[in-house]
Symmetry: C2
Subunit: 339 residues, 2 copies
């Protein structure tokens, strides 16, 4: 239509040099008139590039929260495998800040073209992120967002808002009760996750606004000391016989659920986070009333998708993507999709 060869059209489409102004204009006009959309599949076929991504997550046992994120990432890589997308995983110790840097450094040796990471604290993330910026490697945050080091995209829940919401649901159940409790999970004195703390902040915000006179007890449990925990809990409940509503902001509510079950504390209301298999079991047997979910599989999936959209399909992508705050119960859990 523009009376020139496909080569020239190609140069215009890819904004390459070596085209006269006249020809360029002519081609651009026609492109616009036709609303030309390149066939991304043919394009990927022809360009035949490799896209090796890297992913840096906290170490975890099978079945814990991060397993779901991994699954979503693998799923996405599979769907994009025809575009030559691949991913390699590295894991850092969330309770040892140096580990993050070390694994980050190592991962760069493979020359990845895009990175997905669950960042640790801003101070310790910064040197690594700076190297990525230097090398112009796009990176995506999962789970928690460092606003001061803006990524290509972020996928995760708004922790404050989810805590705020959790408080409302809790108080619907608590009715006239004037005391509730928060259980924390710590490891060698370190919380190890920003999310937990921010959820609690949102929770307390709601309580201050709507139930300022409700007493909020707190109890710290230790992630790897079941026996101590049991004794701690025995003591705690002896001291608070009227308590019947508790929440925990980490993903291990099943520890509490099992305790309630073995002690036959049936009229207890428990709210927790994330759909670990053991949590879901508690939900189904009634020891946990509500679980709040955040679609970790989708977070992982969307992270890969965002990298592909950016690098392969040259699409605009949203920077901040808060995941839905999903409330699950015994009645709805069977219909919930993970992706």
């Amino acid at each position: 239509m523009a009376r020139i060869s496909v080569g020239t059209v190609d140069r215009v489409i890819h904004n390459r040099s070596g085209v006269s102004k006249k020809s360029r204009k002519r081609v651009e006009d026609i492109l616009k008139k036709l609303d030309y959309q390149p066939n991304i599949y043919a394009s990927a076929l022809a360009s035949n590039k490799k896209y090796a991504f890297a992913c840096l997550l906290p170490q975890h046992l099978d079945g814990e929260y991060w397993t779901a994120v991994e699954a979503g990432i693998n799923e996405a890589v599979k769907t994009y495998s025809d575009f030559n997308a691949s991913v390699s995983f590295s894991f850092y110790d969330p309770y040892d800040y140096h580990s993050f840097l070390e694994m980050g450094d190592k991962l760069l040796n493979d020359g990845p073209v895009g990175i997905i990471l669950a960042p640790t604290t801003p101070e310790y993330s910064k040197p690594f992120i700076n190297r990525l910026i230097e090398k112009a490697i796009p990176y995506i945050y999962i789970d928690s967002l460092l606003k001061e080091l803006p990524p290509l995209a972020f996928f995760g829940q708004n922790p404050g808002q989810s805590g705020y919401f959790a408080a409302r649901i809790m108080m619907m159940m608590a009715r006239e009760n004037k005391e509730i409790a928060i259980f924390r999970m710590i490891h060698q004195g370190i919380v190890g996750s920003n999310q937990q703390e921010n959820r609690e902040l949102g929770f307390r915000q709601y309580m201050k606004e709507h139930h300022p006179d409700c007493k909020i007890w707190e109890l710290d449990l230790h992630s790897n000391q079941p026996d101590t925990n049991n004794r701690t809990l025995d003591n705690f409940f002896k001291q608070h016989p009227l308590l019947s509503d508790c929440i925990t902001f980490n993903s291990k509510v099943y520890i509490m659920g099992k305790y309630l079950r073995t002690h036959k504390m049936d009229n207890f209301h428990l709210i927790g986070y994330d759909l670990l298999k053991q949590n879901v079991d508690c939900l189904k047997d009634g020891s946990v009333s509500f679980l709040i979910a955040q679609q970790p599989e989708l977070q992982g999936y969307n992270a890969i998708k965002a990298l592909c959209d950016h690098l392969i399909f040259k699409k605009e992508i949203n920077r901040i993507n808060y995941m839905p705050i999903d409330l699950l119960t015994k009645e709805t859990i069977d219909y919930y999709h993970n992706k």
Copy 2:
């Protein structure tokens, strides 16, 4: 590897005739050993077939429930446009059973290769479905499922379960109250949707199991008579001054919400279905406490996806796909995705 040309390999892959048993076996073995996965994009590129789908939905005004389904379908067609997928819509009058058949007939003239429909009653759907079976055109149900006329796939919520769940949430709010109310929306004496009735059945099931002594009032409103409705409501609330918890199983809870707002009935709890803009407004201003959603966009999207998976990519697809039962509140609505 099998010492034969690509032509023969091609014949094996597509299960076409004209290959000796020996060669076929050899190729199949190698294919399996390599875990060969065809590049579906290259495949679609080369085959260059057209896929025209048709979609048959109830008539509706802009902004009503079905608009969202349409949006999801259009979105999906766009993502599959490089595979030459397209769709055309037809609409039937849900209060006139003959309309369904008539529009169904008309739509077949274009020779669609796949159909998406929101079925009406089994009796009236059957003749149309039979024609589809005759012509071997795959069809997908959206919203409601006719088990006796099994489709290629179904996408929709389990209405009974969602009603059952709604009852639990309602009674969490109702606390010690001993009476609640159900509002129905009818049109010329016809309910026009199976979903509404089945949700109510599930709701009553829960009430029977958990609150057998709770009184359930009922009130029928008419979809196109606002003045009559207002008078009906005035009367109703005069007769039931203690009532403070209501539910409606159709998507027009905003009618109730607006009534409550204009009458300053603040301590009222209202539960409704679907995220129409007006419903969401009520949720945000507090006149509606909870909305139950079912991701209509995703239903539409997945319907197209299922047809493409089946016809283009020859993938196995799930027949029965219940959508999640999502509970939304003022606190979580802003984080909810529609697709």
